[in-house]
Symmetry: C2
Subunit: 424 residues, 2 copies
């Protein structure tokens, strides 16, 4: 008998039909003798609807009240899922974040889980209930309702899996696993059977949105085995765990179009200048990614870095102040760049990979603007117009191409849904 | 400085526009120096929408989960109302039933308030917050979420008013007070300035749906002064308190079209027979209202009574069993009857009222099928086709007619809304 946590994303419970399908998965595991815990997101786009409602009465709603409002989406889906389990003849009990003992920090809208008091869940599991928990939410020690920020349901699921010492934590969404590249861009992308935590972290950091980075970090720290699966098929999905079964040199290619490149030109080259600049940016709560400092010429240097495009409005006044303070010449913002990353545990022990990557790009006439590497990742900043060509060329060059052109998972959620209906 | 509880029904907070209007009322009282507590129902028809959603996955949803689901409607409206108060520049804090310390019995869907631990609310009031509480909900000692049954928000408001020793509890809805008759049927109906708890109880029992009977009982037991007001006008409404200011002989006429009349014919007239029948009906959880037993002829008697039309499906098998057990001849169900009641504190001391009522009805050719009286109420069962004529005739006969034909409050909620918009 195992304990399995199943997390269902918004699209996986968007309609009564899909909720019943999710319930069937819970019941199947229960009938196999497992203890079963479900963690649910809000149905479909209901969180967006609630946000829109809030803005109608207050363009800047207070964080505490916004949290109360947003958590209702998960309360709806958890009770509906528990009802669906009952409709299938099994007993289920739903738990709010509060009832599940999910204690968080007091930072509304972006709280972090500080403790899980799982007694009530453990009791319900011991009594044979299928347990359904609202994702994305918790409660402070003072009893105020909090949310974990967008996508926080993944974190809820992994944290509960860790607290309950689950054998497996399945993450259901509308994609059926982790791919070697984005199948919409690289039709020969392959689904991976397994991948290590570190590789998954690099993929998430590089732009893959299948899993919340925070959830992967949590899983790695507590050694929770994850499985990314589709809610609309019975395909086995991708396992994420300590060591992948097959250690490919390159596991996948990921990209991110939401970064901007900023260059500060003519900075007087004195010790501690870079530290000053990035200290000021960090204080404005902006995450800088790749940083490159050119070699100093005649006592002046250029500093380039990337930052999220969405943070530019907050970044500009910081840069204005820094340029004035440092006596730099100017700063330039290139709002559209693409960050392309090659990720693989094998990169550690294969020093030729970076060189090969650069050669492939150069052969295709693609200019590399910036480079950054970690032990298992190589990222380059390129012009977005070359993004698709680069991904396809690299995918082929590193022998990632599937023999079959990827098809099924190019379907939209609606098409998958229609397919799921037909299959019942 | 007073403490005022304001309860807003579903129509009063159905749109962002109306929520802002409700928030303005809270802010106005706060700026006058009062402590302010709001109790809210779910926005508009959202409770019905949630019920429909539940039925899509499970035609008989488990009571515990249905309670979790239904309470989300009030969580939405309370957080939105708190945001609206913030938008008007005042500080507000919302509280779920759990957070407000509303402890209930464990009977899901129809729980009763057993205790209110108001410490958190009192603290927030002392800190100058406008307090917003979710109506209709509570939590058991074990931490399970419960609801108080339809219309339970009135009870929440009155119970909180009692616990916080409020000076006044205002109930906002789409009608602007208690009338001497239903203005849709009797255009010359007058709004009452005040009415006693007992009269209000009889009006509610007689079919008036302006206030939940349970809430009125609660108010009477704890001497909470109520005021029924319109959310769409500044009319003063009707005060409900220990003694009405003007003690009219007849305060009002009320009617109920949702009762059915049942007659069991040819019942052997033995001691304890009626007790047996009504014991069996009570065990099926059906509330019987008026009971009449005819004089026995040749050892057989007829028993007639009224019961809610909606309970007939559950009543029939009980009657089948009783008729067989007692050796009665048959039972007849008259699905459509109207119960018409005359209510007034003056009935106690004016013995001629009943006779006058019967005479007015008879003059108008209206046959009385059953009669039931209390100290301050006379009810008759008549054919529904005579309902409107009877109400109008009695209203005139007992000098209740206003000199002006009632107009404004014949508006629909939508019309009132349009009017409210225009008035801003």
């Amino acid at each position: 008998m195992s304990l399995i946590v199943l997390k269902f994303g918004g699209t996986s419970v968007a309609t009564p039909e899909r909720v019943l399908k999710a319930a069937q998965r819970l019941v199947d595991y229960r009938e196999q003798g497992h203890k079963v815990v479900a963690v649910v997101s809000a149905m479909g786009k209901s969180t967006d609807d609630l946000l829109a409602l809030a803005r109608e009465v207050n363009p800047k709603p207070p964080a505490r009240e916004l949290d109360v409002l947003l958590t209702t989406g998960e309360l709806v889906s958890m009770s509906i899922l528990a009802m669906a389990v009952a409709a299938l003849g099994h007993k289920a009990k739903s738990f709010t974040g509060h009832q599940a003992g999910i204690v968080t920090t007091t930072r509304h809208n972006k709280a972090q889980i500080s403790q899980i008091k799982a007694d009530r869940l453990e009791q319900a599991l011991a009594e044979g209930y299928i347990v359904v928990v609202a994702g994305f939410q918790g409660v402070t020690k003072q009893g105020d309702i909090t949310t974990l920020g967008r996508g926080g349901s993944d974190t809820s699921a992994v944290a509960l899996a860790a607290a309950l010492k689950a054998d497996l934590c399945e993450i259901y969404s509308d994609v059926d696993g982790i791919y070697t590249a984005d199948p919409r861009i690289v039709p020969r992308a392959k689904k991976l059977n397994s991948i290590s935590y570190e590789e998954m972290l690099e993929l998430s950091a590089g732009g893959s949105s299948v899993l919340q980075m925070r959830a992967v970090e949590f899983a790695r720290n507590f050694r929770v085995t994850l499985c990314c699966r589709s809610a609309f098929s019975d395909n086995p999905g991708t396992l994420i765990k300590e060591e992948a079964v097959e250690q490919a040199i390159v596991s996948g290619i990921t990209y991110d179009n939401s970064e901007a490149k900023i260059t500060i030109r003519g900075v007087p080259d004195k010790v501690g200048i870079a530290a000053d600049v990035f200290d000021a940016i960090a204080k404005a709560n902006i995450n800088v990614d790749i940083i490159v400092q050119n070699i100093s010429e005649h006592g002046f240097t250029d500093i380039s870095f990337t930052a999220p495009e969405g943070d530019l409005d907050r970044l500009r006044p910081v840069l204005d102040a820094q340029v004035a303070k440092l006596g730099a010449r100017e700063y330039l913002i290139n709002e559209k760049v693409t960050k392309l990353s090659l990720v693989g545990a094998g990169l550690r022990t294969n020093p030729g990979i970076a060189a090969k990557m650069f050669k492939v790009l150069s052969k295709n006439g693609i200019n590399i603007e910036m480079i950054s590497t970690s032990a298992i990742r190589i990222s380059v900043i390129i012009n977005p117009k070359h993004s698709e060509l680069a991904q396809q060329a690299l995918h082929t060059a590193f022998d990632l191409d599937s023999t079959q052109i990827f098809e099924e998972d190019n379907l939209s959620a609606e098409e998958l849904d229609a397919k799921a209906k037909k299959g019942r």
